[in-house]
């Protein structure tokens, strides 16, 4: 059984589990699935700075913080308890594309040549951690949700604004991958 769990899971298995999160959260406590809202609650709880957007009863939404802490814990258990034994199998065409940019580690879930503390105070760190993170936090709040709140919860409940959001998430991702990353890697590798 454990042997079986330790293989990487098929996309359909993951999709079913993630999809079931929607009804499970509703049935156990009438909670609408969404994750990026946790970042707002953290701001409201820790650094509200008298900004109206952060003045609300975040304690009423505390379930969301328990949920994301669970996600962190799950990341730990999944990695250190039930880890996939084989290296990740990245598509060969993706490997070829990324090698051009100087990415050389394809063994782990994250390329250690980028996601590494040594890069923190370099141009690489500025783009991949600081600017990337800022765009995620700012963009999700401006859009009122992320992949979970819009693309899963919103699309599953047939709400067209979430389809608009999802389309622009994808457009942004395509633009960065095909137009932005070549420029960024060019700057970094100079």
């Amino acid at each position: 059984m454990l042997e079986f769990i330790k293989q990487p899971w098929h996309w359909s298995v993951a999709g079913v589990f993630i999809g079931l999160t929607v009804p499970v959260l509703l049935i156990i406590g009438n909670k609408n699935f969404g994750i990026s809202s946790s970042l707002r609650h953290i701001c409201a709880a820790c650094i509200p700075a008298n900004i109206p957007f952060f003045k609300y009863n975040w304690r009423n939404e505390i379930w969301n913080l328990f949920f994301v802490f669970g996600v962190l814990l799950g990341g730990f258990l999944g990695t250190f308890g039930l880890a996939n034994e084989a290296d990740i199998q990245v598509a060969q065409s993706t490997i070829d594309d990324l090698r051009v940019f100087g990415v050389s580690d394809f063994k782990n879930l994250m390329p250690t040549d980028i996601f590494n503390f040594d890069n923190l105070f370099t141009l690489k760190g500025l783009f991949f951690f600081i600017i990337g993170g800022f765009l995620v936090g700012f963009g999700t709040r401006y859009a009122g949700g992320c992949t979970s709140g819009h693309s899963i919860m919103g699309l599953a409940s047939l709400q067209w604004p979430s389809l608009v959001a999802t389309i622009f998430f994808m457009l942004g991702g395509f633009a960065m991958t095909h137009l932005g990353l070549p420029i960024i890697f060019n700057l970094i590798n100079k």
Binding site: G15, G78, F128, F134, G145, H150
Partner: protein, 157 residues
């Protein structure tokens, strides 16, 4: 099942009955299972996101597509059978309203998604997986959210 036309946030708590601090443990458990799935299906991988945006693998499309269909069927069943919450309340779905932020903000998030290889959920799971430098990305994301709050009224919506 009914709609909340004016929810206070995008993943609102719609339960009327008050919950004790400890009863929140159940959300921690669901989150933990969710995080395990994230790691086991390699959804937290920067490479899987790159494959998706390069259209070189079906993996992420399969994950998100299946999740949407399963969510859709679940909500349909909840509605048809008039399923209630465990404590007997009517299930409430928060209404998403249109704003230009969906376009501008959505595009910005997409840019960040392709750089970091993470939406907010995987950020937490990446940190749990031992990629501790992602804590910096996470703090920057909090700062991004905070900055949005600060300048919100000057942005087109």
């Amino acid at each position: 099942m009914k709609e909340d036309m004016n929810p206070g946030c995008d993943a609102p708590n719609e339960l009327i009955q008050k919950e004790s601090f400890l009863s929140n443990i159940k959300y921690l458990i669901v989150g933990t299972l969710f995080g395990i799935v994230f790691v086991k299906a390699e959804i937290i991988s920067w490479f899987r996101i790159q494959e998706m945006f390069r259209m070189q693998s079906f993996h992420m499309y399969g994950v998100i597509g299946t999740a949407v269909v399963v969510g859709m069927i679940s909500l349909f069943v909840i509605k048809k059978l008039n399923i209630k919450t465990l404590n007997g309340e009517e299930i409430v779905i928060a209404k998403k309203s249109f704003s230009k932020g969906l376009i501008y903000g959505g595009f910005m998030f997409g840019l960040g998604w392709a750089i970091t290889g993470a939406c907010p959920g995987p950020l937490f799971a990446q940190i749990g997986s031992g990629y501790l430098v992602v804590i910096v990305t996470f703090l920057s994301a909090i700062f991004g959210t905070w900055t949005y709050g600060l300048i919100q009224k000057h942005l087109p919506h």
